[in-house]
Amino acid sequence: MKIKIIGSGCPTCTKLHQMVLKAKKEGHIKAEIEYSKDINELIGLGVMGSPALVVDGKVKKVGMPKDKEELLKLIK
């Protein structure tokens, strides 16, 4: 599984990245995690907002998940 967080480098985007990294560290997921600041990539996917959570090439969520449970549901 490949998880990608795409954002503009805004505080919320870094927060989401940290959240996903933490979920991996705690052993909830096994995945390759990538953080991208390329706005053109966001645009290519048709995402209107940031950050975007992309799992295996599919946009799962735009914006910040409400809590850890929601995040885990999205990336499992």
Binding site: N40, S50, G63
Partner: protein, 370 residues
Amino acid sequence: MERKDWNLLIWIVVVFGILYFVPTNVDWFKTSILSAFDLLHDYAQKHVLTCLVPALFIAGAISIFVKKDEILKYLGDKSKKYISYSIASVSGAILAVCSCTILPLFAGIRKRGAGLGPAITFLFAGPAINIAAIFLTMSVLGFKIGLARIIFSILLSILVGLTMALIFREKLEKGGLFLEESRETNLSKKTLFLFFGLMIGILIVNGLQISQTLRYVGMLVFAIAVVLLVVLKFRKEVTKEWLNETWNFSKILLPLLFIGVFIAGFVMPLLPQTLIENLVGPNTIIGNLIASIFGAFMYFSTLTEIPILQALISKGMASGPALALPLAGPSLSLPNMLVIRKILGNKKTAVYVLLVIIYSTIAGLLFGMI
């Protein structure tokens, strides 16, 4: 020594260097420092509590309660042109967008939504028409110029968008758009209208020409009503989210505003009055053009254009150029042009910048004649 210590050392050396060389017994420096604190004092007393703080609470509420996806629907490829232009022109106020979401939204509207015209309208109006900036302009520079700023920002954004759509024809891409889902808050429309109405009431009372005691009492009454409504009707999580968003906005805007006020106050006595009177004193085409170009290329962080404008007006800037500057100002700056260029390309960016400067000049000229 660790890296952190090195950083600290550098800071200490820099601060010491400044303190060592600061010309404390020179007259111009004394006047400038005093003027800087004078202006800060003025903002703290007259504008921050009564205008900016309520405006920040409103901005926080907008980002929680206004359903972004429902508004963005009107900027999609199926909506009628006049609807998408008008929604795009006021979107800055209703979406409370932060600068980091403007570009993805812009690109989405342009490529898979309503097209280049409405996207440009959004790009211009997004930063120009935000609640905090409009009300602070009214509070600091007067009602007339504040009102003119809203009206002309809306008009100009639509004009720039329409002109761009006329000059450049673009094909839309196929494919869906992904939007941020809005959260359910379980509040009736009536409660929300009352909530926003009461908060805007605070700002309106602040703008009324009545005695100071009466004004404070009126604002207090509205503020208490807002608190009561929140305590009685809102769920705890919703209140928390609202306060959180408000805090986020404050964290970003307030420190920068105070730095801006300090700098504007400091340079105010140093600005050469005759030069400003010659350049932007009369309401001429040249004066308005200079103000527009200055606004377009200089970088002002949100709200700091206001104290800078205040300093320029006190040194003889006419009302026309004083409107042209904040019209061209917040939407454009040199760093921001470089980013737009990456998405739009050289030609379109150049035309966009030119259009903004030309229309702002004309708007300033018209306003100066009133």
